[in-house]
Amino acid sequence: MTVFHFFNCAILTFGPHAVYYSATPLSEYDTLGTSVKAAVVYLATALVKLICLATFLKVSESDSFDPYQEFLKALIGFIDVAGLYFALTQLTHRNISQNHKFQAVGLGWAFADSVLHRLAPLWVGARGLEFTWDYILQGLEANANLVLSISLAALGSLMWLRKNKPKTLIPIIYLCAVIVATMPSTTSYLRRGLGWHLPKVVGFELFTSLVMAFISWQLFAACQRPSLMLAAIH
């Protein structure tokens, strides 16, 4: 019965990644290699991040929200963006379109994140006899994270790979990228600064991720068809 629960939570946590891969054209163009490479880059980035965190951050005795520490954490969080930049621009991929590239990178990124951060707690906790909602919420969080990762990758590809994008959209793209990149700090603030409970935080994450995904999608579409977008603006 408890293994059953673990199975359920694992489906919720890792299922969407697989579904995304098989439902979108990613599977048709066989972009698994790209995703795996992105995952490896994620692992390296996570290692660098850990070293930075261990070097620059004090161990907080209390669970309170310390703005200075959180600012440092947010700065260190931008290492993620650097890693994503590396994954998007420096990795040599087989000939895949930009369209698929950012999706594959975002997917690999999010999957590696889920495996690294959620698999072990899930295995330890969800198999126990005690029932809590935590692991289901954690699975939902993984979903939000997938959407956010792909959005960030999309924005990144717009920033770094697309040369001829409408000038008016550039500030919006950068703004969105900053918002998405600082999401971990935002949720940390909500949880500890404002004392929100996990269900509320996860709900917020899901909502924001969907909004950001929609905006990113619109931006991406606008950049692909600049004339149409401009027409729409006028």
């Binding site: 359920n8 995304y20 439902a23 054209p25 126990g128 006899l129 029932f131 289901i136």
Partner: protein, 570 residues
């Protein structure tokens, strides 16, 4: 085409590594702990002459229910959590005495019986309900200890005791709410699961009993001190009860131990000065094995050499002298006309009269052929040593009755009663030793430096009321035995330990305490429902993604030609 085998090999390698990772995790991680962990105390398990008694099982893993179960429910896979306040005797008759099948039983005792709870401070119950609970618990304890039926002579399910506290009260409330809906908690409805992971109880090999003996030598006039007459003061110190880890026995026989130590202290003061040292040797004995027909006392007496045994004038055994009002009993085996008995009785009743209460004599002949030894002095009498037992009980207790079980807690013992008993014993002994018979002399008067020290009595009583002392579970060098020995060493000249093994007919089993893990579990129905929801979520997600990225036609064609990829690779 050339790509395909490499691709599959890659996939296989990935798959293998994932499996390897999973196995590593399986090896590393153990099951997690429960949300609530409660200390529980197992019902005693013992054999008497090969006949099993008590609960035979220790491990528990069942759903919980309260007393409000439906009458026809099958409870063989359910743990009942029952507070003592709600226990009714019909249930006890049905499930304990008649041993109906049950998954397990956890009896919740009020905090006032807890070992940590000193003197019932903060108890908000009036004395009436306290007494009532005490009587109920006493009755249940006796039933649990003695359950013996021809077909099922023991309980086929684990029985534990626990104490009421906030955590377990909330759990109980939830369980009751669940039971009120009419459905017993099972695998399909969720609720609480109680888990005690314990190994199979093992026999305690050769249960040890340790007798402690202190010797206070009298004043030698000429020759060997062993030629002086000896008076023995004896108390048995171990206990027996339904839950060995909770058998502290404040009255039986904590009060006796305290009185003995205080008498030893008083006489050590007298004997430290040669002017006041009496011409009697004093022998203090703290014996073990009391609940088992005073087995330790018998071994102790048998170890005496003939000269010592013959030098004993008389022995006073102390048993349960901590909760009486105005009447004590002296139990003897020799007829009251016996000169020694007359002497003892005279000493005691005259002192009692001065102190304002009554001491009665009760004569009970011993029957050598009967293995039951109801009073400690009967072991002396069997070896033809004059002896008497001072006790608040007027009738001899049955086997394993009044041996310091669950109800025998600190708050039911009256310190003042012990102090008065000590005064009685010390004064009467002094009368005998210094030959003040017939004179009105108070040696241990209040406010003198020989007065009984109530704080000494209280502190020892507190220590004893926190220390479970079931002999088979006291290790060889138990700190408690060492402490008693040390205390007696302070008051006497010479202290000896006698280590023996408890005789024959009793066998004990270990694992007296355990940790109860309480898990709130979800039902299988919930998990099935969750699986359904998740499945449909993934399907919807899949359809949504296919439609947005490839179009609706692709989705439809996917269902029309499922092996589309195979077609492509071919």
């Amino acid at each position: 085409m050339a790509m395909t085998p490499r691709k599959t090999r890659n996939r296989e390698m990935l798959f293998d590594s994932v499996i390897a990772l999973v196995f590593i995790l399986v090896a590393c991680v153990d099951l997690c702990d429960g949300a609530t962990v409660v200390d529980v105390y197992r019902l005693i398990q013992y054999d008497m002459s090969g006949v099993p008694f008590g609960s035979r099982l220790a491990s528990l893993n069942h759903h919980a229910a309260s007393l409000h179960f439906s009458p026809h429910a099958d409870l063989s896979r359910t743990v009942l959590l029952i507070p003592l306040r709600e226990l009714n005797m019909s249930f006890v008759q049905e499930y304990i005495a008649a041993s109906k099948p049950l998954g397990g039983l956890i009896l919740l005792l009020p905090q006032m019986f807890s070992v940590e709870n000193k003197g019932g401070v903060g108890s908000n119950h009036d004395d009436g309900s306290k007494e009532l609970l005490k009587n109920v618990l006493d009755e249940v304890e006796q039933i649990l200890i003695h359950t013996n039926l021809p077909d099922a002579s023991f309980l086929q399910y684990p029985v534990y005791f626990a104490f009421e506290d906030e955590n377990i009260d909330t759990v109980l409330l939830d369980i009751k709410k669940n039971d009120a809906t009419g459905q017993p908690a099972t695998a399909t409805t969720g609720g609480y699961k109680f888990v005690v992971s314990a190994t199979e109880p093992k026999k305690v090999g050769s249960p040890p009993i340790t007798n402690i003996q202190g010797w206070l030598a009298g004043l030698k006039t000429d020759g060997d001190s062993h030629q002086l007459p000896t008076i023995a003061i004896v108390a048995s110190y171990d206990t027996f009860g339904a839950a060995p880890a909770l058998s502290v026995g404040s009255d039986s026989n904590g009060s006796g131990i305290v009185a003995l130590l205080e008498v030893a202290r008083l006489f050590s003061l007298l004997y430290s000065n040669p002017k006041t040292r009496g011409q009697y040797n004093l022998l203090f004995g703290l014996t073990s094995g009391g609940p088992y027909n005073y087995n330790g006392t018998r071994k102790w007496l048998q170890s005496f050499d003939q000269r010592l045994r013959e030098s004993i004038d008389y022995a006073i055994c102390l048993d349960s002298i901590g909760s009486w009002e105005n009447e004590l009993w002296i139990h003897v085996s020799k007829p009251p006309e016996n000169a020694f008995i007359k002497q003892i009785m005279e000493d005691f009743s005259s002192v009692a009269e001065e102190l304002g209460f009554q001491v009665n004599l009760k004569h009970k002949k011993i029957n050598i052929s009967n293995p039951r030894v109801a009073w400690e002095h009967e072991q002396f009498s069997r070896l033809r040593v004059t002896a008497a037992t001072l006790s608040e009980l007027s009738t001899p207790p049955e086997l394993l009755e009044r041996t310091g079980g669950l109800v025998d807690g600190r708050q039911f013992v009256n310190e003042a009663a012990i102090v008065r008993s000590v005064k009685l014993i010390a004064e009467s002994l002094a009368k005998h030793i210094y030959g003040h018979q017939g004179k009105n002399v108070q040696i241990f008067a209040d406010n003198s430096n020989l007065a009984v020290n109530p704080s000494y009595v209280r502190s020892w009583l507190d220590v004893l009321s926190r220390t479970p002392r079931v002999a088979p579970f006291l290790s060889k060098d138990d700190p408690f035995v060492t402490a008693l020995k040390k205390e007696l060493e302070d008051h006497t000249d010479e202290v000896n330990l006698q280590r023996e093994v408890l005789d024959g007919m009793f066998t004990f089993y270990d694992s007296t305490t355990a940790k109860l893990n309480i898990y709130q579990v979800a039902s299988v129905t919930f998990d099935l429902l969750l699986l359904l929801v998740l499945g449909s979520y993934l399907i919807v997600l899949f359809s949504f993604l296919v439609i947005t990225t490839r179009g609706l036609d692709d989705l439809i064609s996917l269902f029309r030609r499922p092996p589309s990829r195979k077609v492509k690779t071919a």
